[in-house]
Symmetry: C2
Amino acid sequence: MRILVLGGDGFCGWPASLHLSERGHDVIIVDNFARRAADVELEVSSLTPIAPLGTRLAAWRELTGREIAFRRLNVAEDYHDLLELISSYRPDAIVHYAEQRAAPYSMKSSWHKRYTVANNIGATHNLLAAVVESGTDPHVVHLGTMGVYGYGTAGVRVPEGYLTVKMTGDDGRDVEQEILYPANPGSVYHLTKTQDALAFAYYNRNDGVRVTDLHQGIVWGTDTRETAIDERLINRFDYDGDYGTVLNRFVMQATIGHPLTVHGTGGQTRAFIHIRDSVRCIELAVENPPERGDRVRIFNQMTESHRLIDLAELISRLTGAEISFVDNPRNEASANELAVENRRLLDLGLEPITLEEGLLREIGDVAAKYVDRCDRDKIPCRSRWTRAHPGADRPATVYAT
Amino acid sequence: MRILVLGGDGFCGWPASLHLSERGHDVIIVDNFARRAADVELEVSSLTPIAPLGTRLAAWRELTGREIAFRRLNVAEDYHDLLELISSYRPDAIVHYAEQRAAPYSMKSSWHKRYTVANNIGATHNLLAAVVESGTDPHVVHLGTMGVYGYGTAGVRVPEGYLTVKMTGDDGRDVEQEILYPANPGSVYHLTKTQDALAFAYYNRNDGVRVTDLHQGIVWGTDTRETAIDERLINRFDYDGDYGTVLNRFVMQATIGHPLTVHGTGGQTRAFIHIRDSVRCIELAVENPPERGDRVRIFNQMTESHRLIDLAELISRLTGAEISFVDNPRNEASANELAVENRRLLDLGLEPITLEEGLLREIGDVAAKYVDRCDRDKIPCRSRWTRAHPGADRPATVYAT
């Protein structure tokens, strides 16, 4: 297949691009290096020494003989470049990672909120408008987040996107309908993903655009089979308070002798997926497209759920690291249950990599190897969800990020 | 009260500004003249000869002694100007009309889709971010649309924003929850209003921003008590295929001897409100703000529902005009039922002006007075909802605009 990967230089986009190329697909990466620019802004670097994209692509060609092309453009701004690319390349699939993906980053300031909204809504809508205007029929595969559901599930297992509900009709009888699971975002970043979902539903219904929306859990791990071949292919490892994800941060903290920073009580339950499963899910989604006329297909791209405190205690047991409870910067419930349906990717053949010591040690090995690159000052999360505001003195609700 | 009216030069914003001023409030209009610019683009004018805003404001001052101030800025782009205005003026209420408001305009081309998304999402999010950053606590009153609900109601009366549903819990028992009514937009314009609703819900929950979202029906009529005082205060009358609303278009068509253009079968049922009730609803919403800590308050700002064919037949009976059935440019159901709950504005004191011959004649009188300004070539709707697209060959669903 011909595949465009929008945001193909990022933490998930890069290993997915390599994996799709390795599977024999023709891949073009589109990126504007926004993620690398955020490193410059935040004065932090990936713990792993990621190579420039040109070096990455040359190494991949040298090592495998496979060619991945690259087009630098800003999907949220360069509409006509995007349209021209889709019209001429006529991709079978477009994997859409071209969004600002960190909740804490989206809450740092009004600029970060506005950038996240303009970039994410603009990128998704430009993509959909360009697909329609091009007259082509690519399958759009979007990276969403489990966070669109929120984490107040009222005892209902989180379904894959759609929820069957009963409402009372005018005649007093129950009417059953299937609806998009009610959105409940926990940050401006998550808000944009819920707004994306409405755009996908509309363009699917009005224009027949085929879409798979992948509601991904928190990604852990760093390397995939392909990125591990050569150091020039190495993937990002973010440990900072904005872009670092919780499990990688714990392992990193343990490695450098920093206490494990648990936000609040650690009673928050979250969904997880290993980076190798993440790229495998992209492969499964791309190679099994929806039919024409199908509604937006939604998969929960996660393999397991854990309470954050349980993860911290596991790492602590393995490494002897201390646990430090810090004020939760997020406006979220201190604890929640989470049960998630994820049959659809399993049915397509996903064999989950679940949490086990070997893989945690592997992350620790990566962290240890590059420990000298760590800036300890970047570890705390300095974004705050709320500020002094006359109306903001309510207690946090059961809704969470 | 101190009130900012964003988009205060438009069809609803202008009479609302006058009405709030007449009620003794201190009003500042914010506008970027986007609506007048669209007239230039579409090569059409309001049937009524609207005066420049400076002339309007001078006439209002001359006639009533009341001062309405004006700030030209683009709410979707000039964030810091907006922030400075909110921070210094410290409004009690901000009425937000600063959005592209025509469904056909939003569907004309990919540029129009992208403009509508960037403008509407940008304006709403800039407003919310600026309210939070300013540290002030204005009540945000947003003009939404009945179209966010869609028109496939499955026999359920459309509630005011929130719907009680039952879902099946993990233990097999029904769990009852109140959710935002599932969004079902019928155009890119309507899509932006459903995305707005998610932004309001998020900023209300996270930051305590007080919001009233008014889901307005199709507005008919032209003049309010205030705009009728002097011709320099006259309101817009749009009759063109993009910005003209259906009932005003029928009356206008009858007046000039043009057949009444019914899209499709005319079996579409829609909600309506007279322009005088629209401005009265703004007054009621502004003067009865929600409490701090209240969730987003949603009112259905409509007074009656009618099938379009019934309206055409009524006008035809009164005037002898012929009815012409034309292809429906919209991707919508050919017929639908619509029952709407609207108790909350009635409870605040709204006394509905419903469809009656006297008011229709009044519109006809306005149309007759300015008939020489009419460009008949601008009457048809030339926007099309769908184009040749491989996936777009499904029949239209029950969902409608």
